[in-house]
Symmetry: C2
DNA sequence: GTTGTTTTGTGTTAAAATTACGCGTTTTCT
DNA sequence: AGAAAACGCGTAATTTTAACACAAAACAAC
């Protein structure tokens, strides 16, 4: 542990280190499971444990020969989250949302660290071979949540306080689904009604009547219909209609 | 602007300064308006402008004679928000929720600063004399939001990026009201049905039919009834029933 | 390719919730 | 005192939700 002598541009009190972590949700079309992307930590602390991808925020400060700051550059927390994601998992994520901060004293044994957590929604490509990207791994969400829930008191599954973060992310995902058809961001462009339903069921942990579900979705008017070679029908989100319906408040019936 | 030479316990890159800001909502029974607590800034930057109460996170680090860290103390961001609130406005707030972080580069002209924003709900005491607490002032929310909305492009009403924060806080308050009867936290213990309705209308910016509103509230089962001297009726939130109904999912009909 | 099983598309109907008003009385304001 | 607003109690029409039936197409196993 080394001390740090870089300039801090005006505010002279000690500062916490700032990181971002990200809960990446993906829907696996092959087994129709909602999954999260975890990485195995290669270094201490928590070496060998699974954790959310994330890392420290980047601030570049240039000082002249007298030690005065002549140039500063920094990224926003959102940019930080996206960059770390790309670095650690190779994912280029569009749909990313802030979840909240975690700052309990002692949460990082190295130093006083606060993290700004994000969650992101991606479509898992159907036939990706072995999981790429370092030691990143897709794990079924329900497995993670169950493991966490059944842990003996005081024990943790993931590194740091990531157990809490992933639990909060799931709750937030459930709630946001009531305001916004987020689910589409987890699916490929076109999908079947039953796939969409399975996804809703996976997120909300509750089952729907197949026929009522389909009617509700279709009645909302945001889906375009595409026949397939077989008798089955595929659907696609109509973004214009969705945005319009959102403005005019006609999406309330999408709440389950 | 001075440089900073204090130790940073292990993580050796430059760090941003960290602050918290708080949007305090209060419902003024006298004029039945939803208001926010703003403070007039006494110092640069943005001297004389209104701003959200808030400030820097407190970290105390003690080093021995060799400059090594022997003791650290820090507060969580939530504790920081509560402390700053107390210091700047005298308010001791129970109901406080995290809103999100703001970290756009350049948002604070002094230095790289990220803020974690909170929102809080308080009951404004009926006959508080002149606004106490330094230069804190209750301002009707709709006035602030309208001012912000009608500002010429690029102009701002509040200091820093507090325009965005207060706007986001209002949206969040609206959304959270759909999951939780937050409104009660803005009212005194007992209140009339029309007061409750006015509050809901103020938050959601939408009007309800008096009779339907009352029925919905009463049917939910979370209100206790108290006659008054006059023919009128007062109500009070029954916390036990509320918690029970929340667990058993019987509050869905409280969504408007 | 035949057979049994599962999935998919298309309804109907009863119950529940929401919305829109009517009316007589009490309070409030001037 | 009189007019206007607020209040409590109620009903009817409409919309939304929940529960369930059936046949054709796809799929799996042999």
């Amino acid at each position: 542990m080394e001390n740090h002598e870089k300039p801090h541009f005006g505010y002279i009190y000690p500062r916490p280190a700032v990181t971002t972590d990200c809960v990446i949700f993906g829907f696996d079309m092959t087994d129709e499971l909602l999954k999260v992307l975890l990485i195995e930590r290669g270094i201490e602390p928590f070496k060998g444990r699974y954790a959310l991808p994330g890392g420290f925020i980047k601030i570049e400060a240039k000082t002249n020969e007298y030690g005065l700051v002549v140039e500063e550059k920094n990224e926003s927390l959102l940019e930080c989250a996206k960059r770390e994601l790309k670095e650690e998992t190779g994912f280029d994520v569009q749909n990313i949302y802030e979840l909240g901060t975690w700052s309990t004293p002692g949460r990082d044994p190295r130093c006083i660290t606060i993290t700004d957590a994000y969650y992101a929604l991606v479509t898992i490509q159907p036939v990706r071979g072995g999981d790429d990207a370092a030691d990143a791994k897709w794990v079924p969400l329900y497995q993670v949540l169950n493991t966490i829930k059944n842990l003996p008191d005081g024990m943790r599954f993931l590194a740091f306080d990531h157990d809490e973060i992933i639990t909060a992310a799931h709750i937030r995902l459930q709630q946001q689904l009531c305001f916004e058809p987020l689910a589409f961001k987890l699916l490929p462009k076109r999908f079947s009604m039953s796939t969409l339903q399975k996804l809703y069921e996976a997120i909300l942990e509750k089952n729907f009547d197949r026929r009522n579900f389909a009617r509700k979705m279709l009645d909302s008017g945001i889906l375009d219909v595409f026949p397939t070679e077989s008798r089955n029908i595929n659907y696609q989100l109509n973004l214009e209609k969705y945005e319009e319906f959102k403005r005019t408040g006609r999406l309330s019936n999408l709440i389950f």
